[in-house]
């Protein structure tokens, strides 16, 4: 290959990259939405974003460079310190306000464990969770959480119908038993970008 050809190739590749960067940055919630593979292509589905999706995963296999959920840059320090000490600090957008209120008022029996924290910290964290909760957020993941939830109160994110359905289709109980995963609560074991709030399956890598 000649030098000139190489140069042209390089330039067109970088042009393509900057295009898909611009596309993605402009529509973080709405368009990297429902996808055909899950058989539930809904109201946001049929808009040809499949092509964009593929392009995005092609250029950004390393994951998104910045958090995709509004709560993340606004998390109080104590949120990571308290919640994040034992498990991933699940983002506020993953449950509705009512669920967060129930969880934070029942920390003495937090799924069988005592996870009580000082009342002032509890208040601070709850107020953050409520502000950015799934019923307040317009993010894609929050819409999935709220979709089909009805009036039931969910305390486990993995039990929320919209989330449970996806995992039923893709996750076996054998996978969950792996030492590298252990539990369905360990989001970041497979969702490599979970801590940045991106649960898109492009970034799912199921460890052995």
């Amino acid at each position: 290959m000649t030098m000139k050809k190489l140069l042209v190739l390089g330039i067109s590749a970088s042009l393509m990259m900057s295009c898909s960067v611009a596309t993605w940055a402009g529509d973080d919630d709405d368009d990297y939405g429902e996808r055909g593979e899950y058989g539930e292509r809904g109201e946001h589905g049929e808009r040809g974003e499949h092509g964009e999706e593929n392009e995005r995963s092609w250029w950004s296999s390393g994951g998104p460079t910045q958090p995709v959920l509004d709560s993340i840059p606004n998390q109080p320090v104590v949120f990571q310190e308290e919640c994040g000490a034992c498990h991933m600090a699940y983002q506020a957008e993953l449950l509705p306000a009512e669920s967060w209120k129930a969880l934070m008022s029942g920390l003495e029996d937090h799924f069988g464990e005592d996870a009580t924290i000082e009342p002032d910290l509890n208040q601070q964290i709850l107020s953050h969770l409520v502000t950015y909760s799934a019923d307040q957020s317009r993010s894609r993941i929050s819409r999935r959480v709220m979709n089909g939830m009805g009036n039931r109160l969910y305390l486990r994110i993995s039990n929320v119908p919209g989330i449970a359905r996806q995992h039923r289709e893709h996750v076996s109980s054998g996978m969950l038993k792996r030492e590298s995963i252990r539990t369905i609560a360990n989001c970041q074991a497979c969702h490599t970008t979970a801590e940045q709030g991106d649960y898109n399956e492009d970034y799912v890598r199921i460890p052995r």
Binding site: D114, R182, A185
Partner: protein, 146 residues
């Protein structure tokens, strides 16, 4: 430059090496010391034969397995591993845990609020009850001896 000024850094280095190799234990932080003093007082009132805290007792506590009512054996080592200097993993959530030993993780056992919080939570997880002042004192003494 004189010979002695050349020697000084060498001597200093040798002294440093010696002190490192002789290193055993981490000095108690002000918070940890305050807690230890408080626990010692309580331990004396609760147990007349209390003789002071010992690292060996603490080590025993660290490794002792408790048969939990949920049917599994639990100990501190379940999550913190057999060697507190190693990184551990929350066996329930899979979350990584930084080493507990203050010798390799100097943040450990420095803040009273944090120390109390984890004793409360983790004693309940392992033993299904809170730890006594005596147990906390032994345990902390063991950690600071590492």
């Amino acid at each position: 430059m004189t010979a002695s000024s050349l020697f000084k850094p060498l001597l200093l280095g040798a002294a440093l090496l010696f002190s490192l190799s002789a290193h055993a234990g981490t000095p108690a932080s002000p918070d940890a010391q305050k807690l230890l003093d408080g626990w010692a007082k309580v331990a004396k009132t609760e147990n007349p034969s209390f003789q002071g805290f010992s690292a060996a007792e603490g080590k025993k506590i660290y490794h002792t397995e408790h048969l939990h009512s949920e049917g599994e054996k639990r100990s501190c080592a379940s999550c913190h591993t057999q060697d507190p200097a190693q990184a551990g993993q929350n066996i329930q959530t899979g979350k990584d845990i930084d080493p507990l030993s203050p010798a390799v993780n100097p943040e450990r056992f420095t803040k009273a609020r944090t120390i109390n919080k984890w004793f409360k939570r983790n004693c309940k997880w392992v033993l299904e009850r809170e730890c006594t002042a005596e147990e906390k004192g032994h345990f902390t003494t063991y950690m600071l001896s590492l």
